[in-house]
């Protein structure tokens, strides 16, 4: 049984075979501002995204703080009703579109994908930089909408409120989302072509690390789904500006049509958010169990299955809004089926760990948290896909808890696992294991205190998006808000110890965790600007852990 100490350092066990920290790397070869702002290097672009999305995450978190502060008391006493509407709308929009959707693909995907497949860069480096600036521009537009006065429609922009009655800055915000949507599309497009055409010799599809399969599946969803929300927001803007009735029933329009179009993207969007985390989990569990992933093929196929199935379940968000009972039954059945590939992954990971040599480094702690919380979130989804129970639970805090378990307990934990896992590769430094493990633990505890009470609140009937509630719900709300403060600490801590490690951390070897994938075995930490001295040639499946960590042959 492995011992867990807050100070255990796996990385001391593995010798540095690639070596050479002090040579020219992608961070230090050019220090000018222009070399960063106009970079075509996928690694630098990943870091640009890291900085920007962290800022957006902090903003979204502050908004969550405002929400939880208001909900400490049953009466609406901290924010006005209108401001509260704007707060939860802004929280949702920022967290989903400006943090979660880009997070792993734009930061870790950009950094790691070419390294993992033995390529010098992504297929379209200039398009990659353009994607970043689209993200940046979309963020500026969205922030402008907030500064002008915000949006009060909820992130779901349901019509006819958003198209006709709301007096908030819907069109400005929708424009920001339109722009950032194209950032997402172009990033996905880049990764798809990269994975298809830039793999190094010998790297067949079934020798790809599972992170690549996950990013590929995510990219397919980004490509297919995002254009639909773009055109839907465009129509919303047209309706608002021209006063014509596309979605307004008073003018002959159909609000359910808006919901169909909106959710056709927004449901697959949640798979954009979770698939990359599932990929990170595969990598982390393999490395820190020192064992080949059980059911590699099934995990790879399940990623594709989730991506495809994710497109045929969207109306489960509309069970109570007026679709036909027959359509509801069909979508309910399809929604049950989409849970299966995810469940298969969880069992595969458990089987991977069984019999493995497990080390409890920080990434692994986050991965464990992911496993438990993602499972809970997923299983509560089944209550919601069941038509009868959904009638009671829809628009209550049960839904809020369900999606936060998946998106925060799942996706964000996966993101943190990935950041902690690839940090030595990205920066050439090790962070403090003590603080890493402590943060992971605090986050896990804070998260559960925040969101578990919300399941109960929803079951008891507390509706979502309300700033006041009956007195009997106060105790659970106080629990939730207290938990939120703990969760906040858990998220703020890494800002400090990770930033500290960037400048003062112990220098990392090329493969401190003994991983088996090309990004670790064939590059320095940090990598050189052009990634590889010589193009690798792959001769075996990934996740082969031998006495030495190198799983591929350099020529």
């Amino acid at each position: 049984m492995a011992t867990v100490s807050l100070e255990s350092k796996t990385f001391e066990k593995f010798p540095d075979i690639v070596g050479r920290h002090d040579e020219v790397n992608y961070l230090n070869h050019d220090h000018s501002v222009a070399s960063w702002l106009f970079t075509l290097d996928h690694k630098r672009i990943g870091l640009l995204y890291l900085v920007t999305i962290t800022l957006m995450f902090l903003l979204g978190g502050a908004l969550a703080g405002a929400i939880r502060l208001e909900l400490l008391t049953p009466k609406g006493d901290f924010l006005t009703a209108d401001t509260y509407n704007k707060a939860f709308t802004a929280h949702g929009i920022i967290m989903l579109f400006f943090f979660l959707i880009p997070s792993i693909p734009a930061v870790l995907g950009n950094f790691v994908v070419p390294l993992m497949i033995g390529a010098k860069d992504v297929a379209f480096p200039r398009l990659n930089l353009f994607s970043y600036y689209l993200y940046f521009a979309g963020s500026v537009i969205a922030l402008t909408a907030l500064l002008l006065g915000g949006v009060d429609t909820g992130w779901t922009f349901y019509t006819p409120f958003s198209s006709t009655y709301s007096n908030s800055y819907v069109v400005v915000m929708a424009s920001g989302l339109f722009v950032v949507g194209f950032s997402s599309i172009l990033t996905g497009l880049n990764f798809i072509i990269t994975v298809h055409r830039m793999r190094c010799p010998g790297l067949t599809w079934f020798r790809l690390p599972l992170f690549i399969w996950a990013i590929y599946a995510t990219s397919v969803v980004q490509l297919l789904g995002t254009p639909v929300i773009a055109v839907t927001l465009g129509l919303l803007g047209v309706e608002r500006v021209l006063g014509v009735g596309i979605f307004d029933p008073r003018l002959g329009g159909d609000p359910i049509l808006f919901q169909h179009l909106f959710w056709f993207y927004s449901h697959p969007a949640v798979y954009i958010m979770i698939l990359p985390s599932l990929g990170v989990t595969s990598e982390v569990i393999a490395t820190f169990s020192r064992k080949n992933v059980f059911g590699y093929h099934i995990i790879a196929f399940s990623s594709i299955a989730i991506a495809v199935f994710g497109f045929i379940v969207w109306a489960h968000h509309m069970f109570t809004t007026g679709i036909s009972p027959y359509a509801a039954m069909v979508f309910s059945l399809l929604t049950f089926s989409v849970a299966i590939p995810s469940g298969i992954k969880v069992f595969s990971w458990l089987a991977t760990m069984y019999g493995g040599s497990i080390s409890f480094d920080t990434p692994m702690i986050y991965a464990f948290g992911f496993l438990g919380l993602f499972t809970i979130g997923g299983m509560t989804g089944l209550f919601l896909s069941t038509l009868g129970t959904d009638i009671h639970l829809h628009d209550t805090y049960f839904i809020v808890a369900h999606f936060h378990y998946i998106m925060v307990g799942g996706a964000i934990m996966g993101y943190m696992a990935g950041i902690h896992y690839w940090w030595p590769k990205m920066t050439g430094r090790m962070y403090s294991e003590f603080w890493g493990k402590l943060s992971a633990g605090i986050t896990f505890i804070g998260f559960n205190f925040t969101f578990f009470p919300q399941f109960i609140l929803g079951y008891l009937g507390m509706p979502r998006r309300y700033y006041e509630y009956p007195d009997e719900f106060q105790v659970l709300n106080v629990f939730s808000s207290a938990g939120a403060s703990i969760l906040a600490i858990g998220y703020i801590m890494p800002l400090f110890y990770m930033t500290y490690s960037f400048f003062f951390g112990e220098k990392a070897s090329s493969n401190p965790f003994g991983a088996s994938t090309l990004d670790w075995t064939n590059t320095t930490s940090p990598p050189s600007p052009h990634n590889f001295e010589k193009t690798p040639i792959v001769t075996e499946e990934p996740y082969h852990f031998h006495g030495k960590e190198a799983a591929v042959v350099n020529h």
Partner: protein
């Protein structure tokens, strides 16, 4: 080196493009004539079918589909598949609204 589905980039003969253009003109005339007929519930499928043939001609010949990699065809078919899903599942909701329980 990454595997590439290399197909010859020999340009197609000029006559092929002119023939395709002729077919597209012919089918446009067919579209209009068919539009003026009353085929009842078959009007829409017929119109879409003719348009699909025209689109196929453009894809296969003008867009060099005939010499494109299998991956290109996966992309083309995926676009049709997901568009059908979107329209089909949405329509199935509206069409089943009037059904008795």
């Amino acid at each position: 080196m990454a595997t590439t589905e290399h197909s010859t980039h020999q340009p197609a003969p000029l006559s092929l493009y002119l023939f395709t253009f002729g077919m597209l003109m012919f089918l446009t005339i067919v579209t209009i004539l068919a539009g003026f007929q009353n085929f009842g519930m078959w009007s829409t499928p017929i119109a879409l079918g003719i348009a699909a043939v025209k689109a196929a001609l453009v894809v296969v010949i003008f867009m060099h589909g005939y010499s494109s990699s299998p991956l290109t065809w996966v992309i083309i078919l995926a676009s049709m598949f997901f568009l059908t899903i979107m329209l089909g599942l949405m329509l199935s909701d509206y069409m089943s609204r009037g059904w008795a329980m």
